[in-house]
């Protein structure tokens, strides 16, 4: 079977690099994904899981004959432990951008086989490139979220407005520091304090915490997870705070009325990767190649407002839907791509940004109890 697979791959690569008409390329690349057996894929659950099932897994299964097994996603640390034990949880793992670099550095991932890809698709990954070991899965943004009714006369437009209690009174909510990079509260605190986006990194921990000090009395709750960030606003426990754009849209599609501003949004991403020791790695390569195509990515973004990572997908997304996505051309530049390199680099104190963020948070809450 192995022989057969590699022969097929060879043919596909040959076909792609050969003198074949450009139009025929995707067709041949797509044919090459057929296979047998199964692939165990990270599953996000909820509406994200629904989008994944409809946009990716079902059409992939229909086209390739490979059975997709959805398996609950796990925290980065659990995934790492599983790889170290030689029994990774998934063939196709989903790892947040903040943790990805550490997986790469420690040799826990298999290289992505771009032989299965149509070359124009790889080029389509403009904002965050598809690299040797991982492929960005989706882009999302941590934005200012607020009660539309409460601030009907003037809507908040920046993180500084979240700190502006005079013009925007009401209770606040921000991610607890234990969320580290994913919660983006350190970046937010600095932007609110007037730091320019280009000067954000390396994070000035003291300045960020001093900025949070000023807000502290008005934060009703430091949210622990994404569900809470939006639920606090739905219940009017908080009237302004930070939340992921997809969570806000999800609540609004079901009847909530939470406003958002793209200004100074912190653009984040999660990526697909194949763990070392994955049992169905050939099928995993095919699943990832399938997800790189613009059509299923467009379908995904039509179900849930997370941005496609292959910009070619915008050719297949209606304009009014595209306007809602964080990577839409009109709003893309108003946001700041989170610097995951900083978050994974060891500083003078010998700690990565992630570790420092949690240690600083623990110190901060203990000192100001």
């Amino acid at each position: 079977m192995r022989l057969d697979l590699s022969r097929r791959r060879l043919l596909a690569t040959a076909a792609l690099s050969g003198a074949v008409a450009g139009l025929a390329r995707p067709a041949i690349a797509q044919n090459s994904l057929r296979g047998t057996g199964s692939v165990i894929v990270h599953f996000g659950g909820g509406s994200m899981g629904e989008a994944q099932r409809i946009a990716y897994s079902e059409p992939f299964q229909a086209e390739t004959g490979i059975r997709v097994i959805h398996q609950a996603g796990v925290a980065a640390g659990v995934q790492r432990a599983a790889i170290l034990a030689g029994a990774p949880k998934h063939d196709v793992a989903n790892i947040s951008g903040g943790s990805m670099a550490a997986f790469e550095q420690d040799g826990l991932l298999q290289p992505v086989d771009y032989g299965y890809w149509a070359p124009q698709n790889r080029a389509g990954y403009d904002l965050v490139p598809a690299s040797q070991f991982n492929v960005p899965a989706m882009l999302y943004s941590m934005v200012v979220a607020f009660d539309q009714q409460r601030y009907a006369s003037r809507a908040p437009e920046s993180w500084a407005d979240l700190w502006n209690l005079r013009d925007f009174p009401g209770r606040r909510t921000l991610a607890a520091g234990t969320n580290a990079a994913d919660g983006a509260s350190y970046e937010i605190a600095l932007l609110a304090d007037g730091v320019k986006p280009e000067d954000l990194y390396p994070i000035d921990w003291e300045r960020a915490l001093r900025s949070l000090d000023r807000l502290r009395a008005d934060v009703v709750k430091w949210w622990a997870n994404g569900a809470e960030s939006v639920q606090l606003q739905v219940d009017r426990q908080a009237t302004i705070g930070s939340a992921w754009n997809g969570r806000i849209d999800g609540a609004n599609e079901q009847g909530a009325r939470i406003g958002k501003s793209w200004n100074q949004g912190i653009l984040q991403w999660a990526g697909w990767a194949i763990p070392r020791g994955a049992t169905n790695s050939e099928n995993a390569q095919k699943y990832i190649a399938f997800m790189s195509r613009p059509e299923p990515q467009a379908r995904f973004s039509e179900i849930i407002t997370y941005g496609p990572t292959n910009a070619l997908a915008f050719n297949h997304i209606p304009a009014e839907r595209a306007a809602l996505l964080p990577t839409a051309p009109a709003v893309k530049d108003r946001q700041i791509v989170q610097n995951y390199t900083f978050w994974n680099t060891v500083d003078a104190s010998g700690q990565t940004g992630l570790r420092r963020a949690i240690a600083e948070w623990e110190r901060w809450i203990a000192a100001r109890r």
Binding site: G46, S47, A72, A224, G226, G250, L354, I358
Partner: protein, 583 residues
């Protein structure tokens, strides 16, 4: 162990099944954890410990965690004791139903339960709205997202662990002893203080141990309902495993916690459990406690007129109020336990597409959504079977273990006891990490058997603590009487011991079952296409958006509990086929 008699050897053999399980399911993972804590970058290193000990933050978090656990234990004891007393002495006919209702908090996932508390205590919540409507306050009180919220959430879920062992201990108190105390001239108050209270202490000790040890491992309730400063050690460990993958520091913190709490337990062990040949629990003393001491105490009170008069006067003053007060307290506590469930029921019947309270309308849509979801039903069945199998196994090996410890006299029993309760001390994320590596090495990765083993290990401490407290001051003379009358040991066990301990067995089984059924963290380590629990499915669904579907699961579980409750009632209405003769 050299001078062990044949009987003691037999009793020591009773420990074997549990020890085998612990060797595989706890010692091996613990060794992995300890090993992990001593390695950095592939070499032996004490760096993790040096880091922990050098950091003032860890000491602060550790002390705060111990303090919160102590306070929660004290709160549960103060609230739970009068409640159990009221049920055991004044509401015995409804005791089964009341005790079942007390376990209701366990029926819903922590996230939806916390949401219910926010709906009750929040700024626009039920309590504040009621108080404002009554004109008692003008601005809403801050009742949640502060330490008050933390303690409400923790006491709510831990109270059953206090109440059930207390109730089991109080049920075993022989009413004749209380009458004897009265006959010897004790008023209600002296009899309570000198007879009832000492006899109920084993239940209080067991309940306190369960609450304290569980509270040590808490973090989700304080994280969702508390102030940012209510940051417990288990959260510090969790974030180091899950987010930072800093396994050595997490393992080091766990080992320090285990040594500290283990040492603490050994220090107070005699107050927590009584084993044979402890001064407090030799058979003679057991009889003494059960029969003679009250009489002595009562006569001692008689001999000190001042004390007697004071206690009697206090008793007389309190007596007319005691009944109503106890009932009021009991009712209030039941409301406290059940109020979030009421919110959950309303949410489950909500017509809204998202979570909101109060619901704008009512419908069955979320029940339909659940029934339509084959994945959830499959996961529910999986959780039910592995948790039941694990609870059965924990009871099957925990019962002989408790008997062996309670009755045998051989060296090392204190350490063996500590070993059996230790799975409660280590945070689940660390047990999960250790178990996972062990199971992968054994070729059990992803196999349903791995869940069964893991849940048996975490269920065992409940069985051992609850049964030891029941056996510690158990009247051995009853078993001896049965033996003298010619009963074989097993027969004596079946006809005398078992019925007397029935309430404790039920309690032990229940907590062993719930510890597995409720688990999410270990399950995530063990999860595979062949094994996904209901807790994992719910977590998948609600970490990004809390859906009313999760509330439906709680309501379905409540329904199952109520049906299970009514079945025995139906049985009592049927004519009995066999009347068992008991001495």
């Amino acid at each position: 162990m050299g001078g062990m008699t044949g009987r003691d050897r037999q009793r020591a053999a009773l420990l074997l099944p549990a020890l085998l399980l612990l060797a595989l399911g706890f010692l091996a993972p613990l060794a992995t954890v300890a090993w992990t804590s001593l390695r950095r970058a592939g070499h032996f290193s004490l760096a993790a410990y040096a880091e922990i000990l050098a950091s003032p933050v860890f000491l602060d978090i550790l002390l705060r965690t111990l303090w919160m656990a102590v306070l929660v234990t004290a709160l549960c004891a103060a609230l739970g004791y009068p409640f159990a007393y009221c049920v055991a002495t004044r509401a015995r006919r409804h005791a089964g139903l009341i005790m079942a209702l007390v376990t209701v908090p366990y029926l819903t996932s922590i996230l939806i339960r916390s949401y219910a508390w926010v709906a009750i205590l929040g700024g626009g919540g039920l309590v504040n709205r009621t108080l404002i409507a009554l004109g008692l306050i003008e601005d809403p009180l801050q009742l949640v997202f502060n330490s008050f919220g933390s303690y409400v959430g923790m006491v709510h879920i831990l109270l059953p662990m206090m109440v059930l062992p207390l109730y089991a201990a109080m049920r075993r108190i022989d009413g004749a002893l209380l009458l004897a105390g009265r006959g010897l001239g004790g008023g209600p108050m002296p009899v309570f203080v000198t007879v009832f209270l000492p006899l109920s202490l084993p239940g209080l000790a067991a309940g306190s141990a369960l609450v304290f040890l569980s509270a040590l491992g808490f973090y989700i309730a304080p994280a969702l309902l508390g102030a940012p400063g209510d940051y417990m050690l288990a959260q510090a460990i969790e974030v180091r495993v899950a987010t930072l993958a800093e396994f050595d520091v997490a393992a080091g913190l766990s080992c320090i916690l285990l040594v500290l709490v283990g040492g603490f337990l050994m220090l107070f062990r005699r107050r927590i459990v009584s084993l044979a040949d402890d001064p407090a629990s030799t058979p003679a003393r057991v009889v003494g406690v059960a029969g003679l001491r009250p009489a002595c105490a009562a006569s001692a009170i008689g001999a000190v007129p001042g004390l007697r008069a004071a206690l009697n006067a206090m008793g007389d003053a309190v007596a007319p109020l005691a009944g109503p007060l106890l009932h009021l307290h009991g009712a209030a506590l039941l409301v406290f336990m059940l109020a979030p469930m009421l919110v959950v029921v309303l949410i489950a019947c909500s017509s809204a597409p998202y979570l909101t309270f109060p619901p704008p309308g009512y419908s069955w849509r979320w029940f339909m959504a659940l029934l339509d979801d084959a994945n959830w039903l499959e996961a529910a069945w999986f959780s039910l079977t592995v948790s039941t199998a694990a609870a059965v196994a924990a009871l099957a090996i925990g019962t002989p273990f408790a008997f062996g410890l309670a009755r045998g006299r051989f060296g090392g029993r204190r350490l063996l006891w500590l070993l059996a309760v230790s799975p409660m001390i280590l945070p689940h994320i660390v047990i999960g990490l250790g178990l996972f590596f062990t199971f992968v090495a054994l070729g059990l990765n992803g196999h349903p058997v791995s869940f069964w083993l893991a849940y048996t290990v975490i269920g065992l401490p409940y069985v051992v603590i609850i049964l030891l407290s029941a056996l510690g001051r158990f009247d051995v003379d009853l078993e001896r009487a049965a033996a003298n009358l010619g009963a074989a040991p097993m027969t004596a066990f079946r006809t005398v011991t078992l019925p007397l301990l029935a309430a404790s067995f039920v309690t032990a089984f229940l907590f062993a079952f719930l510890s597995g059924f409720d688990d999410l963290i270990i399950g995530l380590f063990l999860s595979s296409p062949r094994g996904t629990t209901l807790a994992i499915r719910m977590w998948e669904d609600i970490r990004l958006e809390i859906s009313p579907k999760t509330a439906v699961v709680g309501v379905v579980q409540l329904g199952v509990l109520l049906v299970a409750m009514t079945l025995p009632m139906l049985r009592t209405m049927l004519p009995r086929r066999r009347v068992r003769t008991e001495a």
